[in-house]
Symmetry: C2
Subunit: 364 residues, 2 copies
């Protein structure tokens, strides 16, 4: 159990294999008044895990489904779900359960944030990305045409239950992409986690459940600490965006179709490490080692993009304020910093170097 | 200046005739860093008051417009406005200004609550209803097909600037309907305000700006106190819903077309006063006096509805929790209470009595 304690919320993250069959009992203990419950999930996840999910509930929650895919992460879907809830009689005491990956989990959190100006919800993340990152910390939201996650709310769950055994049903590429966020957690705040992921990469990637559970739990511990220090991302929490500035630009340039989120972040981390090395924030050895571990959790898929476009897209980053571009850089392994003085030339150089690595990666 | 101090926010409400021409200067003093500003308004309001609004700004805010009417208070409009902001380069430091009545003000507040998970905004309310009630207290949101204000957020403005001279351009029926919320404020928490509104009803309704300014300021003082005690409506804040349970039912039954919001609330208050009188929470004299003042701020327009439908619609009220129906009742003049034991029979009786008053009102 990992506690998340912020200025506005206090809840626990439970991480263990086999948690799903205990879910009903745990939720009943958490909510003894027995409110109306609604689970938001995808048809695929429900087909695979619905029976196990339901097994511990005395009264089955009402099931609402959304097809998988970033294109459904929009206000129109939130509105449709809210209408279905209202139709079914959901009130202010009702509770939502997000049983899904990060895309649907973010959207379900926002549905909970907005329905009747805020109802309670629980995260039951089913992907590595969601278990490591998106289900924790209270960031919820949907995409606009203008960009990802541009509309949302901070709204923490009541609890997070991550069943690491569920990850066995993930496509390998999704597991690997999700684990890039764990590599990121190690780089910015936890050298021991980074070392573990380096040394045990084979076990982790083979799906050894004990190794996976350890990596996920330690990553969540990093995230919980960062979020506790800076709930609303005015400082420390920005560190979680290592690799995300260029990562988001790559996702936008490839219309979110070429790469998984974690893969785009991995490319972005390689660029950030390059900038950090040229600024002597990391040694050449550290940079090489970080690059090697990121690739071990690859292969990083190739993509096509124009460097000038990528640089221009970073100007639209949500973290920017009044025109100044924020950038997270590693400081050695296990620490990081936010800088605001990365020039267009520096960024262009880093993006070009990253694009060259892209060629190598394809050959590797 | 009336301070609003809650657990999560601290801001001031300025209420005076002629405030609009000082707005630019006041906003510049409040936000010396000079962020990008966006004003959300209706074409009608902008045509009437846009020049005066802009007169004090060194840099004109970007203007976004929404046609008037409850039918536009939907997530689709919020999304369209958010896309326009993103397109224009709005970032986390940007500031929204709601220059409008309550419908658009609620929606602009929600746009601010959700854009990049929350940016700052200022309320510049242009109707009596918005100046007295909706611009203060941080409730923002939009309608669903299933009901009004069912999706939203608590998000307080940075400041509220209410120019009471602007009310001179309001249609008389809108002024009168808005003032019903001031009558409500008097009934639930401020006998002196109620007495003032009784004794000076002619001046107030004639648009005497000093009298209007006094009534609005005292109403805001009531709201600020109630919201300070209970920001998220777990108790005391429910008192602000006097007349709203049946009022919302009447609005829903007439598809929001027959009556203005304040008129529906006035009918709902008459029913609530009836229940309170039968429960001996108010004397017969007090009930008659409250009824007389409510009608003085009428005439209350007639409407068609079926009592059984109205009673059924109250079961959908947002304030209900796990099936129990909440109802606000006056206790004398200047106090009120929330009860949860209003039976269907009692409510039916009160709704029937209200429907009879409706006939009288038409004759009056």
């Amino acid at each position: 159990m990992i506690p998340v304690r912020t200025a506005s919320a206090s809840y626990d993250v439970e991480i263990a294999p086999g948690l799903l069959k205990e879910l009903g009992g745990r939720v009943a203990a958490l909510l003894p008044a027995g409110p109306r419950m609604f689970v938001v999930t995808s048809p695929e996840i429900w087909a695979l895990h619905g029976a196990e999910f339901l097994s511990g509930f005395a009264v089955a929650p009402t099931v609402l489904t959304v097809p998988p895919g970033e294109q459904h992460k929009r206000l129109a879907t939130v509105e449709r779900l809210a209408e279905e809830m209202a139709e079914a009689g959901a009130d202010r005491d009702s509770v939502l359960i997000a049983f899904s990956g990060g895309v649907l989990g973010d959207m379900t959190g926002f549905l909970a944030a907005g329905y009747m100006r805020g109802i309670r919800y629980i995260q039951v993340p089913t992907t590595a990305l969601a278990q490591i990152d998106s289900a924790i910390g209270g960031k919820t939201g949907v995409n606009l045409a203008a960009g990802k996650n541009l509309f949302g709310a901070f709204h923490h769950p009541l609890a997070v239950y991550a069943d690491t055994a569920v990850l066995a049903t993930l496509p390998d590429a999704e597991l690997r992409a999700g684990l890039q966020e764990a590599v990121k957690a190690g780089i910015i705040r936890d050298r021991a986690l980074f070392d573990y992921m380096d040394e045990l990469s084979e076990s982790v990637l083979a799906g050894d459940v004990a190794a996976l559970t350890h990596v996920i739990a330690e990553s969540v511990r990093v995230k919980a600490k960062v979020v506790a220090a800076d709930e609303k991302e005015s400082g420390e929490r920005m560190l979680l965006n290592l690799g995300h500035t260029l990562g988001h630009a790559i996702e936008a340039a490839t219309k979110y179709k070429a790469l998984l989120h974690g893969e785009a972040v991995a490319w972005g981390m390689l660029a950030a490490i390059g900038i950090a090395e040229r600024r002597a924030l990391v040694t050449s050895d550290e940079a090489q080692r970080m690059g090697r571990v990121i690739r071990a959790y690859g292969p990083l898929k190739n993509f096509s993009a124009n460097v000038a476009d990528l640089v221009a897209l970073t100007a639209k980053d949500k973290k920017n304020r009044s025109g100044s571009r924020s950038f997270v850089l590693p400081v050695g392994i296990g620490d990081a910093t936010v800088v605001r003085d990365v020039s267009v030339a520096e960024l262009t150089g880093a993006a070009e170097a990253m694009m060259e690595l892209r060629g190598e990666q394809v050959l590797a």
